[in-house]
């Protein structure tokens, strides 16, 4: 991979990947390490030169998701720190709602929602990244969405009962 290609790819995806990892793991310190390691591993891949940008991005997220699974088991929950919030005061109320709702969901559900709604991956791509069969993604995503909506509407009881 040429230096310029790597740098452009990194500039485009590093912060987004950091946000994804920080959100699914609730651990900014883990996100710091996993982002770098993911890019290093991608750079070391022999076929990276022949990949399309979309394929590279899929691979990057797959590497990161695997690293998070592995590293999260090793690290203690004491490392979990507060995640930063928005700078715009107009979005504070909405942000508090979504932050609280996401905090109460399982990491796997957060990951599914993030990959679908922030990164815009297709169900097939989400399946490959998160390790699900393609056909399972739609119902899982739907269930995660319904739970998130319940949490957003303040129906905490039903959310807890499902867990």
């Amino acid at each position: 991979m040429r230096d310029e290609d790597f740098q452009a790819f990194y500039q485009e995806h590093a912060r987004r990947l950091w946000a994804y990892i920080a959100r699914i793991s609730s651990n900014p310190s883990l996100a710091d390490d996993v982002v770098q390691e993911s890019f290093l591993r991608l750079w070391e891949l022999d076929p990276v030169d022949t990949m399309t940008p979309e394929h590279r991005k899929n691979y990057l997220y797959k590497i990161a998701a695997n690293l998070v699974k592995r590293e999260a088991r090793k690290r203690s929950e004491q490392e979990v720190a507060d995640l930063p919030g928005p700078e715009s005061a107009e979005q504070i109320d909405e942000w508090i709602g979504i932050r609280n709702a996401l905090d109460r969901m399982k990491a796997a559900e957060r990951s599914l929602l993030w990959l679908a709604y922030v990164e815009g991956f297709s169900h097939r791509e989400i399946g490959a990244i998160a390790g699900y069969a393609e056909n399972s993604v739609r119902p899982l995503l739907h269930r995660a969405k319904q739970r998130l909506l319940r949490f957003l509407s303040g129906d905490a009881k039903s959310g807890r009962e499902e867990q």
Binding site: Q7, R16, F39, W43
Partner: protein, 161 residues
């Protein structure tokens, strides 16, 4: 409520909040897709907040680390025959002494045990050195330097999420 079969298409085909006409029409009448749109907007607020505060190091640093790691891996690979030869020669010397080769007298039991102990200690030192070298490289080069540089913050513009 069941998942809408159009939702994936609606979400992946839209750029921002702008949709193709047929999908926009579907969206008006589909509660599931409307909910999907609402969630997307909300989660993107969170995504933008996180991305804006992320502490990723500059690309050049990551590239430098990638090169360094590859160099170290190549060096390890290149040195492997040397370490193997060292180990084999040590083993051969021990066998030669224990068996009583030409120009040496056969070793007694006590001498053989002492020699074996020395050999084991030597091998232990070599293995310890090898392990410590790996740990040092991992801790200092891959983590310590990068973390130190990260603390000095080299943030650019946050991307639009």
């Amino acid at each position: 409520m069941t998942p809408c079969p159009f939702e994936e298409r609606v979400l992946t085909s839209s750029s921002g909040e702008i949709l193709a006409d047929d999908l926009a029409e579907h969206l008006e009448s589909c509660v599931s897709c409307q909910e999907g749109f609402r969630i997307r907007r909300l989660i993107r607020i969170e995504a933008a907040a996180l991305a804006a505060h992320s502490s990723v190091p500059p690309a050049a640093l990551v590239l430098w680390r990638a090169r360094l790691r590859r160099t170290n891996q190549n060096m390890d690979r290149a040195c492997r025959p040397v370490y193997l030869a060292q180990g084999l020669s040590l083993l051969a010397a021990i066998v030669y002494l224990v068996m009583g080769g030409e120009g040496t007298r056969p070793l007694g039991a006590a001498e053989a045990v002492a020699l074996a102990a020395v050999a084991l200690v030597t091998i232990g030192i070599l293995v310890g050195w090898w392990t410590a070298k790996g740990n040092w490289r991992r801790n200092v080069l891959q983590s310590g330097v990068a973390r130190g540089l990260r603390q000095h913050q080299l943030l650019g513009e946050a991307p639009q999420v």
